[in-house]
Each structure stands twice: as C-alpha cells, then as structure tokens.
C-alpha cells in the first residue's frame, strides 16, 4: 500500500516516464495561463470567481509534475496495468497499435462524407486485420454486417440517424 512503485515490471522503461511529468507540467502551465487570461470583475454574488479553481488545479498539476519527476529520477517506476489478455513480457507492439490508430483516423475522416456504413466497415475490418486476423473474406462480411446492423438498429431502434453519406439513396 505504501510507495511500492516498481513491481518488477519487465522491459525496464528507462526514464521515458519523465515524458508524463513533462505532459503534466505542460497541462498545469496551460491551465494557469488560461486562468490568468480570464477577466473576472469582483462580484458580491460570486466571491470565488471563475479563476480560483483553475489556479488550484494548475498548481496541483505542476506540483504532481515535479513530484513525479523526482520520483522517477530516484528510481520510482509506474506499474504497468495487467489484465487477462495482457502479456507484459514483451515490449509494446507498435506494429499492432499504429494500424489500429490508422483505422481509427480513417473512420474520423470518412464518417461524415462516406457515411457510417462504409467508414464503420473499414474501421472494424482494419482493426481486426491490425490485431492479427487473416480471414479476409469472413472478416469483411462480419464488418459489413456489423456496420449495417448498427446503422439500421440505431435508426429503427433508437431513432438516431447515423450519417448515410454517399449511400444516402441506397440505404
């Protein structure tokens, strides 16, 4: 329960965790700068004003950034999260993650123009491929089925109209 930070996580991470400290510091600075910009005339009904909380939160972020940096420099390491399907004995597999992010970004670009049925199909198919499935045809059919089912399910079941895009007349 006390400061047990390093639980023998494999693949010693060096000091890359300092990046998190930097991120926290940057976030704190942004919050404080944003707060200083707020013009808040003193008012009897709102003594606290809109600046107090941002200043407290920005300070909290800066202090955590400094404390985390000190912790890391002294050898403390965050304990990577474990799970049923998580195998921490091998390092992060970017060859899986990057194509996944690619499929995700493609969906963002296409969803309004091409419509959910097309972008959703590509999202699922791309994700399944990135995660290592190589049953192209079966995966394609499942992807299309899922996208169509959610499109019509949302339309008829929930009254939510997902974008039809270029298939507007067809669906």
């Amino acid at each position: 329960m006390s400061q047990k930070t390093d639980a023998g996580t494999p693949a010693s991470k060096g000091r890359s965790e300092l990046g998190i400290a930097a991120l926290l510091g940057a976030a704190g600075a942004v919050v404080l700068v944003d707060a200083s910009r707020i013009a808040a005339p003193y008012s009897q009904t709102d003594v606290v004003g809109p600046r107090t909380m941002p200043i407290i939160i920005g300070a909290l972020l800066l202090v955590s950034a400094a404390a985390l940096a000190i912790n890391v420099l002294r050898g403390g390491r965050g304990q990577a999260e474990e799970g049923e399907d998580v195998d921490l004995t091998h390092p992060a597999d970017w060859k899986t993650v990057l194509p996944l992010v690619g499929a995700f970004v493609l969906n963002i670009l296409l969803i309004d123009a091409a419509g959910w049925v097309i972008s959703g199909t590509l999202l699922f198919w791309g994700s399944v491929w990135a995660l290592g499935s190589r049953h192209y045809i079966r995966d394609g059919l499942i992807s299309l089925g899922l996208a169509l089912a959610t499109f019509y399910g949302f339309y008829f079941g929930l009254g939510i109209k997902l974008p039809a895009g270029i298939l507007a007349g067809v669906l």
Binding site: V31, V48, L60
Partner: protein, 509 residues
C-alpha cells in the same frame, strides 16, 4: 413502515415487463462483460450510455445496476477458470478458486462463488435499503460547506488511499479536474480552456471521456501487449455443492458480507481491503488451515461475498450523497446527470420512484444472476474462446459508434482518440484511472459548492468551516493524509513488530 411501502412501490415499477426485460438484458450483458477479458462493468456502462438516451432514466439505471452486479458474477467465473484476475478485487478468488479448479473442484468453487455472491448481494441490498434513508435524513440538513468537505474527502481518499502510488494518483486527479474545467463557467459565463474552438465551449462530454479512457485506452493498451500464447481454461461442468461444502461456506459468506458492506460504503473502502480481510479471517478461523493455498472453499466463499457486499455498499453513498467511490459508480452518476437528474440527498425526495425501482431491481437482478449463473456457467466459460481480434476490434467499433452518437460530430472522435491515447499512456505508466474519472465528475460540483459556501458567508473563509460536519470531515482528511507518514516513521523508529499487517504476505504464504 414507510420504507417498506416505498420498496414495494419500487418492485411494482421494476417488475413491469419492460423494466424486467432491461434488468434481464443488464444481467446478461454484465455477466458477459465480466467473463470477457478486457471489458469491465464500468466500460460496458460507458459504452451503453449513448444508447440509453431514449430509454428514460429508470429503465437505464435498472439495466446499469444489472450490468454492475452481473460483472461481478462473471468476473469470479473468469478468475476461477483462468487464474488471471481482471480486477484487483478478484485476486483472492483467483488464488484459491483456481487451485480448487485445478484439483477438479471447479464446480464447487463456481457454486460457492455464485451462491455467496447472491447471499451477500441480497443482504447488502437490504442494508442499502434500510441505511440509505437514514443517511439521506442526516444529509438533507447539511449546508454547502459540509457537502464540499464530504466531496473533498471522497476525492482525496480515492486518490491517496487506493492505488499503489500517491504521486501518480494526484497526477491523474489533476488531469481529470482539468478536463472538467473545459467549457463555459456556469456562474460567470467565462470560457475556460476553450482555446477559441467553438466545439469545446460546451465542455467535453463525460460520455466521450469515459468511453475514451475506459474503452479506447484499454483496447489500445491490450493490443500493444496482446497475449499471443493461449491461456488455458479449465473445463467445467454444472456447478454444485455437497452438504459439506455448504457447511463450510455459509459462515464465510456472512462474515464476508460483514466485511464488504461497510468498506464499500466508505469513501475509500473499495473491494480490495475487505476481500483480503475476509481471506485472512477465514484462514485463521478455518478448521483446515492447511488447505489454504491449495484450494480451500472458505477462501473463495468469504472474499466473493465480501466483493459483492462491497458493491451494494458502494451504492449507499452514490444514491444518498451523490458520491461515487469506484469507477462503475462514477459512470452511473454520469448517467444520472445525463438525464438531467441532480445527484445528492434530494434524489430520494425528487425521484423516489427511480431510486426505489433501482433498489428493487437489485434484488431482482441478484436472483436472476443466481438463476442464470448456476446452470449456465459452462456456457459462459465458452465466451472465453472468442477470437481476440474480434473482441478488441468490437470494443473500438462500439466506442466510436457510442461517442459519435452523442452529438453526431466527427470532432468528438478526435477527442476520443486523443483521450484514448492518454488512457493508453496512463496504463503504461501506472497512473490510476479512477481519480481522473472521479475528479472529472466531482470537480465541477466541488467548485459549485465552494462558491455557494463562500457566497453565503460573504467571502469570509470561515464560511467553509461553519458546520460541525465540515470540521469533523476536514480533520478526517488531515488524519488520512498524515497517517502514511506516521506509519513510515513508526516502522523506521518504532519497536519491531511481527508483520501482522502485511495482508499480501499472508495471502502468498
């Protein structure tokens, strides 16, 4: 018997065919996500949030409660059959239950877990129904300064007491609070952290944040470390227990419940500590201490009961005070706010139908869970065979769909990806998720109460300490924060003692 009448009314609402159907969907989904690796009840509810917009608050909350309880039943099945607990609260079940399964007693382990969960869940829900009105009666008399102190206590305990690293807890809390700032300040109308992006001026939807952190972050994290070698699942038949198993189980069930409920109801109790305590107690009291570590049924019965009772306990501060103490409760609170319902002690007064239908549905859900879990355990275990690419692609697919459906904006998907990347980084570097979510939800409410208290006192800081409850709570906060320092000093300079406090060591021993 006012409470009794209200509860009966709740049953009348919960037993309408529609609501009963949602309870069924809830417990089925809950058990499924509990069994499936990588998905927990918090993520499942976050993914369901956008879909439930048109359902109305009562039906949605009934379904969510089913997911919450169901997730725990399903989780114990996985930890017994797979020995890789998904959550810290089922670590103990995995230790003893998996040993039982390996020794060919999987059926008994599953049975004592399911029946124990039922007993604990039912007693816990009964305690919730009797205690919550008292808490409410006490809480409605409190002013904003007391609320402020209670919420501060909730935030700090979740951050500082749970989790292994305080620094990382506070870092996560700060991030959550900062995300909560984004948008227009409700009092002064000033824009905060908007950066001139009009889409940000309404703030970041809690649904988007929750889906990003729980679903996208988790899916990406698991994808990066996907276990390629197959884990072995122990085949299992119909769960059942012999007379001797019953004799050895019923006392641990009750004792586990007694540990679990109060810990769950406390701001930082959680389910971890009571399951450890229950395990250690059962080991001490057992007539077969030599069996512990090799598959003792008491070591499954007690901790499982403690786990479920703590879930019921968690709902007490959630419903009576609007104070969430774990991730699932946090997302449920976000759901209530989505429906425009103000959480807090007035909930019982303003929405009696909703609250009592929810409590009644907990009794119903628990019974349904026992019925579907005992005969169908082998079927649930089959879910573990789902091909992982489909599972995690599915999570990303539904996360995208849900986040998009909230506002129909592709911009929300950009936020989803950015915050998902944050969730990934947090998992990589051991920043706990819970403080971020609780900070995001409680931050704006804390700010509101702070302003209200100081407005009432005309800006005088004594307005923060004008109620005895506030003072007592702040003293408690101070003690909680100072305690670890004292313990460290005591260990360093105090007399050497046998390490009776090291629960983990005892468990491993």
């Amino acid at each position: 018997m006012d409470v009794f009448n209200l509860l009966m009314q709740g049953f009348a609402t919960a037993l309408t065919p529609m609501n009963l159907m949602y309870a069924c969907i809830g417990v089925l989904l809950g058990t499924a996500v509990g069994v499936l690796p990588g998905i927990g009840p918090a993520m499942a509810i976050a993914l369901l949030l956008p879909v439930t917009y048109n359902l109305g608050p009562t039906s949605s909350m009934i379904m969510f409660a089913g997911v919450y309880y169901g997730g725990m039943y399903g989780g114990s099945t996985t930890s017994i059959l797979l020995n890789t607990p998904g959550e810290s609260s089922t670590v103990i079940t995995a230790i003893e239950g998996h040993k039982m399964a390996k020794a060919g007693r999987a059926a008994q382990a599953l049975a004592t877990a399911a029946i124990g969960s039922f007993v604990a869940g039912t007693i816990g829900t009964a305690l919730l129904a009797t205690l919550a009105p008292f808490v409410v009666k006490f809480a409605v008399s409190l002013g904003p300064s007391s609320y402020l102190s209670i919420m501060v206590l909730g935030l700090l305990t979740v951050t500082a007491v749970l989790g292994s690293s305080k620094v990382r807890g506070f870092a996560s809390l700060g991030l959550g609070l900062a995300i909560g700032l984004v948008g227009m300040d409700p009092v002064s109308g000033q824009q905060r952290l908007v950066f001139g992006i009009p889409l940000l001026s309404d703030g970041i939807d809690i649904v988007v944040v929750a889906v990003a952190i729980f679903a996208v972050g988790e899916a990406l994290w698991i994808a990066a470390h996907l276990r390629r070698n197959k884990t072995e699942t122990i085949p299992v038949g119909q769960p059942w227990m012999g007379k001797k198993d019953w004799q050895r189980s019923w006392k641990p069930w009750l004792r586990g419940t007694a540990f679990g409920f109060p810990f769950g109801a406390m701001p930082a109790g959680g389910a971890e500590v009571p399951t450890f305590l229950s395990y250690v107690t059962e080991k001490k009291l057992s007539k077969h201490p030599e069996e512990f570590g090799h598959g003792a049924i008491e070591g499954v019965a007690g901790p499982e009961a403690a786990n479920n009772a703590s879930a019921a306990g968690t709902l007490t501060p959630l419903l009576a005070l609007g104070l969430p103490t774990n991730a699932t409760a946090g997302v449920m609170l976000a759901a209530l706010m989505q429906f425009g319902i103000q959480p807090g002690p007035l909930l019982f007064e303003n929405e009696p139908l909703l609250v009592w239908a929810l409590i009644a549905s907990l009794f119903i859900g628990n019974t349904l869970l026992l019925l579907i879990n005992l005969p169908m355990a082998p079927l649930w275990a089959k879910l573990l065979r789902i091909p992982r690419p489909y599972l995690y692609a599915g999570i990303l697919f539904f996360a995208t769909l849900g986040a998009y459906a909230v506002n129909m904006q592709a911009f929300d998907l950009v936020l989803l990806l950015v915050l998902g990347a944050l969730g990934f980084a947090m998992r990589r570097y051991g920043l706990p998720i819970l403080p971020l979510i609780i900070g995001l939800i409680l931050g704006p409410r804390i700010e509101g109460q702070l302003r209200k208290s100081l407005q009432l006192s005309g800006g005088d800081f004594s307005g923060l300490f004008n109620e005895p409850v506030a003072i007592v709570v702040y003293i408690l906060v101070a003690v909680l924060l100072a305690l670890p320092v004292f313990i460290r000093l005591w260990r360093k300079y105090g007399p050497q003692k046998p390490s009776t406090l090291h629960l983990e060591d005892q468990v491993r021993a």
